[in-house]
Symmetry: C2
Subunit: 325 residues, 2 copies
Amino acid sequence: MRRLPFLPIVSALFLVPCAGQPLSSWNDNAAKKSIVDFVARVTKEGGPDFVAKSDRIAVFDNDGTLWTEQPVYVQLAFILDRIREQAPSHPEWKQKDPIKSVLEGNLKAALAGGDKAILELFAATSTGMTTEEYGGIVKAWLATARHPRFKKPYTELVYQPMLELISYLKEAGFKVYIVSGGGIEFMRPWTERVYGIPPEQVVGSTVKVKYDVSGGHPALLRLPEIDFIDDKAGKPVGIHRFIGRKPIFAAGNSDGDREMIEWTTAGNGARFGLIVRHTDGDREWAYDRQSAIGRLDKALDQAAQKKWLVVDMKRDWKIVFPFQK
Amino acid sequence: MRRLPFLPIVSALFLVPCAGQPLSSWNDNAAKKSIVDFVARVTKEGGPDFVAKSDRIAVFDNDGTLWTEQPVYVQLAFILDRIREQAPSHPEWKQKDPIKSVLEGNLKAALAGGDKAILELFAATSTGMTTEEYGGIVKAWLATARHPRFKKPYTELVYQPMLELISYLKEAGFKVYIVSGGGIEFMRPWTERVYGIPPEQVVGSTVKVKYDVSGGHPALLRLPEIDFIDDKAGKPVGIHRFIGRKPIFAAGNSDGDREMIEWTTAGNGARFGLIVRHTDGDREWAYDRQSAIGRLDKALDQAAQKKWLVVDMKRDWKIVFPFQK
């Protein structure tokens, strides 16, 4: 008899939107609806689009899809910082490019050599140590480095709506992977803490690594030789190699993700392709077809043809970063 | 008051060994005890050897550790069958070795060319198709092929005590991986069904694979080029690449597994190395130091020095295969 008066209060608790609701940083519009509809379809047992839990694989690009990639990729910021930090013990670095130009503060000149220059900077700063040492260096750097515009640790410059999307998919039984052009060992030390994605669910570019017992303690040495570039047509290859199943959901933000989304969305059954489009110069950045970093051109055309969801940051996201909550 | 008389019956229910008990195909001796003790230690919260669930990674070799590798590796049996099956549409195969000798029934001559010959046989039978096609071929072959001695499907020639060990570790919160010198794509189509290990938890040797849209449907083509050999010193490298964490438990049966176990058992905290020693010519095979397949020589010496558990099939296992139950 005393229960009835409480009913409206209880209902209100369940109906009022709150921070704990799924996808609460997404505006209530068509973009959010298409995600929710897809998840409802593939998880509805007995429904025509039902997908067994073991086949609910979702893949996310990292740079520009889960965290900011401007004004330079975070891994490049790491490399540049490390060159400046290590320079005193490498006097020979002042003699030749590309490192010379980095030390002179001329990034444009340093990168003028293209991929070869980037590989040289990478080899000088990110190889020649054990995998354990490298992981420690990455963690130590992330603990102190600050983004030049936002003055925050890079790991706080992750997109809140995408964190919610990862959680939402995991709640729906998806196994969520990162599939990035970035170095696999640059990401694995922190993805579990920041995204809730464990190291074994991170796919990325790799260097050759060598088993070595010469120091008395068995270790793995990072060699200055690229093993695999997990970008563009390499992404489906990397997914196949590491996961061994074709995903049904793929999210990216640039032409580097085009083949991954194309492959994921081809085939039978319900499939979902998502492109994050950077349209918000005030809260983050606005760039697409002409950008040197994160160019989104062919993939944008293909998204329209193939009906991939193009997420417009400005239109679809209530906030971009967690600290804007 | 009526409860006391039932107590002995209830206790008996929990103490009498039965098929549903963990490790029930293992004899109750020191080998089984050391496994049970290890698992108890790493799962005891607050204990000195406790290991967080996310770090409970176990790796198992496949050939000779989980299923029989005699008289030839199962993958080689597949390759030989496929040569005989495809020969009618390849008249040129009769002209040159190593395929010529296979077709003449002279395996010794066919394999006289060593690794190069094996690679040629492999390339002729296992590349040049899409990854989906290859998976289908493997499954179709396994459904009909029979082991020459036991006249059973190869997937029934798995070691019952090792299946129980996998289940036991999974129950204790371990994530269990296969780490095999065999082809990753030769294993992934069936490991979930046979071992309860999903494709993404299978590490193995890989061929180069190419993303291809020329057929209108995006696909991955298997190229006749080795990408990575997951054997010997390659095993720690493969584990690091695919899993990104160091296991705390490693099981193998040959010198090909030596580095994997050496690396796994080096370092802080409780760690477990296990070697399956083939000592049972009646129920399976007896071979070790001098065997061409599955040679166990250096790893056997190292097992004694490092106190890895050497499982003696004859002494430690009640049955070998599930059909002996």
